[in-house]
Amino acid sequence: MTHRWTVFGILMVAALSTLLMLRVASAETTPPELSQQKIQSIRSHCGSIRSTLNQLHTTDALLRVNRGQMYTSLSTNVMAKMNSRLALNRLDGSELVRVTTEYEEHYSVFRERYERYNDRMEELKKIDCTQNPEQFYVALTDARTLRTEVNEATKQLNRDIDAYHGAFSDFRTDFLSEQKAKND
């Protein structure tokens, strides 16, 4: 009986250790493999890389402001006003409201992702690429991934815009058909 409990205990400890190791392994960011040639290239081009990053970070800030204004304006000045007008006229705009809500949720995702990307870019710019090329490259890889996520968020917003337009077209077709039927 005692022997059975010992085996059970060992198995439990082994299972827990495996789970723990798997968690640790997945939490760690695998650093990208860097060849000596690449390290040397980062060191030798450090000045121009930093200059490009600074320029990109600045133009990204402008892009973020302009995109943000455009997305917000579309939501508050166009979609919300249309939804409100439909509600005041006691017409069914539920699909349009649903798409607007999704659009607003995805806009929040866009904001959060940009924040994360921006923070990583700030960190990246602080790393000395001549002294720490490996650390610099890890941060660069992260920033690259986060930028792609921001890009995906803008694509999702574009899909929402299309969805709203589609829902509006359906509403218009139905509304005009009903109006025509009433007049006939």
Binding site: T58, R64, M70, N77, Y117
Partner: protein
Amino acid sequence: MINSVLASIKQFLLRHQLGVMLTGSILFAVLLVYIALLAYDRSGASSLDLSHPDYDGLRSQITTEKPDEISSTGLITEEFLNEFDKIFSERAKEAKEIDAFGGNVLSDEALGITQ
């Protein structure tokens, strides 16, 4: 012991009322500024603030918000729906005309990092 310390503090405060008030006001103002800056940083507003000196040349490129073209009140008519469709199509086109944050601007090739 504690009573005597408290009594001496009270005596000090009463003797230097003006100084204590001025120091307290300054410390309170510093605390409020700290909270405001913390909120400015944490909310993400700092990353969107183009009044930063580095962004001096970019400020002219900020697009101004378009005036309200659609009213949230009024009847739903065929004319209004057509007008809305036109405005929405223009805005949608504007939103999709550029691939924002796309491209390989951070790739090894773009940054001149050789393999």
